[in-house]
């Protein structure tokens, strides 16, 4: 008990060291800011905001078995196809952030521009490939497939667009 104060300093030093180490680990851990957990949108351009990380990992399964790896120092806009995604960021020495889920909803969007009498330019303005049924009065007269932003000139009186399988 002669060196009681020495042991007290030992304990304070060890506890202090552990606390500082824990703080350093917390400080160096990558931080994800946006998109928020469970974010749902039909916009295919998504802004990823994060701190203390240099690598974004995006996968369509939470096990990250085949992630897309995107090296980025700063916030980054990434174009994604409709679907459910899981993402996280990786910082120094492989430290990883929390995993967040993100859903890009499919949007079927069809645009008709009249070119001449009975003739239309059909435009896929959505974010998925479209199957468009073309009718003349009540009779189906054709079927066209439109890629994203693709357009075709077609004659008809009714146009029905749906997501292609």
């Amino acid at each position: 008990m002669k060196h009681k104060h020495v042991f007290a300093i030992d304990i304070v030093l060890i506890a202090g060291t552990l606390l500082v180490l824990a703080g350093l680990i917390g400080y160096s851990r990558p931080l994800v800011i946006a998109p928020l957990p469970g974010f749902v949108t039909a916009d295919t351009s998504v802004l990823f905001e994060f701190e203390k990380a240099g690598l974004i990992l995006i996968d369509d399964n939470p096990d990250f078995t085949s992630p897309d790896r995107i090296y980025a120092e700063d916030n980054l806009v990434i174009n994604l196809k409709p679907g459910v995604y899981y993402w996280k960021v990786q910082g120094i020495a492989g430290t990883e952030s929390e995993i967040r889920e993100l859903t890009i909803l499919s949007e079927v969007n069809l645009k008709l521009k009249q070119v001449s009498e009975g003739m239309y330019e059909v435009v896929n303005a959505g974010n998925v490939e479209l199957d468009v049924e073309v009718y003349d009065d009540k009779e189906i007269v054709g079927n066209i497939v439109l890629g994203i932003d693709e357009s075709k000139e077609v004659s008809g009186t009714k146009f029905i667009g749906s997501q292609k399988d």
């Binding site: 910082g91 949007e107 079927v108 645009k111 009249q114 997501q163």
Partner: protein, 422 residues
């Protein structure tokens, strides 16, 4: 609707010929706006598909958004069609959307029967924008536009049942190719043991590798991935075929996928002109390497030479050649240098084959008795940007840890002993 009322109001005022300047301007603007308005109809719907796992007697309300992309007044009709239409109730079958309403949330309720056969069952919710009627001006579209949101109901198969696909990702810069197999457990029961072996074949059907994926268990109606990685860095460039045998419990499933290693590429190794005199015909000998593991046929070179004003001064082609796999061929072309002065000229060489072309920008140094080709053999290496922010973070961490270590060492090895020894 508001735009139309606005225009009608101004037309009636015009008839009265009592317009003041402001209303005259508004009337003209209104008519012009209507006449110049593009003849466009647009309609959106999101999501395009909703997928539901079947449970007997399932009752669920599904919502979707109708998007008024062109911000127009529109009359909408919603109806269900397809195999499951009798199990669907639309909660709002017809309504109007004003030009100010960007989107509207609509719902339908599904009440599924107690039994459905295994597999996929579908229905379509059709949202129809009725044609505009009785509109003044040419901005009238007589066609009807409709968009569909699909309903997919997956009914589990009896026992154990897997659906899978094979995706080939890569090669990465280190030559690694990932074979990723998403597996869906579509049966009533969980899949306990799911794995696959993947055989890699060349275009000559010679097996060059066999890979094993990881092993997973997949609960009923869930999806998981199994992966195998192949190091293709030593494999000759060319087409390959992957044959995957998925083994799940007592059953198996075979999947195939073609993929390529490397690029179908021809490389100009060297261009030489020997025995040359200015004013004569120069014979360009071009050594071309085929790095692909299959022959490339019908290859020819096209060389363009530009003067000091960057204008084309000469264009000459070689005959066509067939280049064997992984071999080199000397291609010859001729340039008539009559009237050409000594100097250095910009040049572009194209290797053209089967709709593709490889391009090299070079400089041609023409002298009295020699032509030198400058610019072959340079390599552009990929460089990664410096990682400033992370370097700063590492520095802070290193300094903090060094200080901690020093404090501890100072205490435990020096100060502590000193105090104890007093």
């Amino acid at each position: 609707m508001r735009a139309r009322k606005f225009q009608e109001l101004n037309l009636s005022e015009a008839r009265k010929t009592k317009m003041n300047n402001k209303t005259a301007f508004l009337a003209v603007f209104g008519i012009l706006a209507l006449l110049l308005a593009p003849n466009v109809l647009a309609l959106g719907i999101s999501p395009g598909r909703t997928t539901v796992d079947f449970t007997p007697g399932l009752e669920r309300t599904v919502s979707f958004s109708i998007v008024n992309s062109e911000n127009k007044d529109m009359n909408i009709v919603v109806a269900a069609q397809g195999e499951l239409k009798d199990y669907i109730t639309i909660n709002d079958k017809s309504f109007s959307m004003s030009s100010e309403e960007g989107s509207r949330q609509v719902t339908y309720t599904i009440r599924l029967p107690k039994e459905l056969s295994p597999g996929l069952h579908t229905a379509e919710i059709v949202v129809l924008q009725l044609p505009e009627e009785g509109k003044l001006s040419e901005a009238y579209i007589g066609a009807a536009l409709a968009v569909v949101t699909q309903l997919h109901v997956n009914v589990p198969y009896p026992g154990k049942y897997a659906e899978a696909s094979l995706n080939v990702i890569g090669p990465e810069s280190d030559g690694k190719i990932s074979f990723v197999m998403p597996v869906l457990s579509r049966g009533e029961f969980d899949l306990v043991n799911v794995r696959a072996t993947i055989d890699i074949y060349t275009s000559l059907n010679k097996k060059v590798a066999t890979l094993n994926t990881n092993e997973v268990s997949i609960p009923s109606r869930k999806r998981k991935e199994i992966v195998a990685v192949w190091d293709s860095s030593k494999a000759p460039p060319g087409p390959y075929r992957a044959v995957a045998t998925l083994l799940y419990d007592e059953k198996s499933l075979t999947l195939e996928k073609d993929f390529e290693v490397g690029e179908k590429r021809l490389k100009i190794e060297k261009i030489e002109v020997n025995d040359f005199s200015l004013g004569d015909i120069a014979k360009f000998e071009m050594l071309v390497e085929n790095t692909w593991s299959e022959a490339v046929r019908g290859v020819y070179s096209e060389m363009n030479i530009y003067n000091k004003d960057k204008k084309l001064m000469a264009e000459f082609k070689s005959p066509t050649y067939d280049i064997d796999p992984l071999s080199k061929t000397l291609m010859v072309s001729f340039w008539d240098t009559a009237g050409v002065k000594e100097g250095t000229y910009d040049s572009t060489v194209y290797l053209r084959y089967g709709g593709k072309s490889e391009k090299e920008d070079l400089k041609i140094e023409v002298r009295e008795n020699e032509i030198n080709v400058i610019g072959l053999g340079y390599a552009i290496s990929e460089r990664r940007a410096p990682r400033g922010e992370n370097n700063g973070l590492v520095t802070i961490l290193v300094i903090a840890i060094v200080i901690l270590v020093m404090i501890n060492l100072l205490w435990f090895l020096f100060l502590r002993r000193k105090i104890k020894s007093r």
